[in-house]
């Protein structure tokens, strides 16, 4: 992968997470779908495991937006890039925010029905 094992992906620290960036990141239907998938998962999920109606390069873009906003953490594992929701950091920085947004998203129509 371009980002080899030695170089780490840029993530904002907990204190650097900005509300506007988080809200913007979650205001896109595709990204909200990704976050919902991450919220339901027990394990970290690879980028390719998401059933979203966009191409690979668009996927890369969306994960980058989520990572730079501080919503997810990305880690390289072999050829896969694995994604994890930063629930603890988000909860510490903006208590209740992720939970209420995720709950709000539940009774919203999905952008695309998933299996």
């Amino acid at each position: 992968m371009h980002a080899s094992a030695t170089e780490t992906l840029a993530h904002p620290s907990r204190d650097e997470i900005e509300l506007a960036a988080v809200l913007h990141a979650l205001s896109d239907p595709v990204r909200l779908l990704m976050v919902r998938g991450l919220a339901g998962a027990i394990e970290a999920r690879s980028c390719g495991s998401f059933d979203v109606p966009v191409t690979k390069s668009t996927c890369t873009h969306h994960f980058k937006v989520l990572r730079e906003a501080g919503v997810i953490r990305q880690r390289q594992e072999g050829t896969k890039r694995v994604n994890l929701l930063r629930e603890d950091d988000l909860e510490a920085r903006f208590p209740g925010l992720l939970g209420t947004i995720l709950q709000a998203a539940e009774h919203q129509p999905l952008l695309a029905a998933r299996a």
Copy 2:
């Protein structure tokens, strides 16, 4: 005013309020500032009473975005257009959402210091 007393401003009904639109509306620092001002107010506030660092026409634009997202309700009162947070509708549609965002905004730096 262009929109005379007889013609009403377009507002989404409670059920038409979309999460993505709300998050997008609140992801702009100026609009978040407006909403914070509205949340603190007991009475409805006129557009001009907000101390935001943008011109009048930009203000008009932002209030329109907030209204069309279902975040605020606008009502004409004489020459003033008066704004009110749709707290009840938002609470019914997305329980806790507005509150947690407002609370999150509190320990975020203001875009511009206000009196």
